[in-house]
């Protein structure tokens, strides 16, 4: 676990302030290696269990986290993920914000389309993750970096 401000990730995105009013308990994890992805999956699972998400919703959120963490490492050259507990007064949820300072995504519309890949993968990561969560937001700028926010609310 690291402090968000000490890491090398410099990409400033409006998503960093997204839902600031609802969020508590932010934890930031570094994403550099395969093992970091497994560590994140474990943390997300624990939080999802604590929030008493259904087993299907837990699995969807952990799977989306796994896909996006891999993207951060593979395409973003590594970065970090912020885990937030969300509460808007009506419902509780989990927010994950992935940030890297990589090359950015030139065409987000294309990148969200199933089957589109520049890395030899299946091209399901971004579009697939979007389908697995309740809210999805992305901010990417060429040569600056990419930020992806996902939220799963407790039903």
């Amino acid at each position: 676990m690291i402090d968000a401000h000490t890491d090398a990730v410099q990409f400033e995105t409006h998503l960093l302030d997204h839902r600031r009013q609802y969020r508590t308990g932010r934890v930031t994890l570094r994403l550099r290696s395969d093992e970091d992805v497994v560590g994140l999956r474990k943390q997300v699972r624990e939080r999802a269990v604590t929030l008493a998400l259904s087993l299907v919703d837990q699995t969807k959120l952990v799977t989306a986290a796994s896909e996006l963490a891999r993207n951060t490492i593979k395409y973003g050259g590594g970065g970090e993920v912020h885990l937030d507990a969300l509460d808007d007064g009506m419902r509780k949820g989990i927010g994950l914000l992935f940030v890297d300072a990589g090359q950015g995504i030139p065409d987000i519309g294309n990148a969200l389309r199933d089957g589109f890949t520049t890395g030899g993968g299946l091209g399901l990561g971004l579009g697939g993750s979007k389908r697995l969560v309740d809210e999805f937001d992305i901010d990417s700028r060429p040569k600056e970096g990419t930020a992806v926010l996902i939220i799963k609310w407790k039903r």
Partner: protein, 118 residues
């Protein structure tokens, strides 16, 4: 290096995945299985994923690739024991494991491979 064990039973290879696989481990398993199919002259591969609480696109692709490689090497692959939540998530993610035979449990998987060990 960390590895997932592969057991041989007659002309079958059996794998039970019981750890949260990182990507290198998944690739290692794919390579190991392909080599063992040839070195053991295996006719079938049974992969038990009942202990896996997540199959993402990388693991899904590893499973599909392994099945395709096994087919080229004259062996059949059956994946057994997928948890319902994992199945729902896989399909919504957009992965259909095309070309991979599945069964609900090991016994039914064995039957698909034409084996009975009752």
């Amino acid at each position: 290096m960390e590895r997932i064990p592969i057991l041989r039973m007659g002309d079958l290879l059996l794998v039970t995945i019981q750890v949260d696989m990182h990507d290198r481990l998944a690739m290692q398993l794919q390579d190991d299985l392909t080599e063992r199919i040839v070195s053991d002259s295996a006719k079938g591969v049974l992969i038990d994923i009942s202990a896996l609480d997540l199959v993402d696109s990388f693991i899904g692709r590893m499973i599909s690739n392994t099945a395709a490689m096994a087919r080229v090497l004259d062996a059949r692959t059956v994946v057994v024991g997928m948890q319902p939540a994992v199945a729902i998530t896989l399909v919504e993610l957009g992965l259909t494991l095309h070309g991979v035979k599945t069964a609900l449990n090991v016994e039914k998987g064995m039957a698909l491979l034409g084996k009975s060990y009752r």
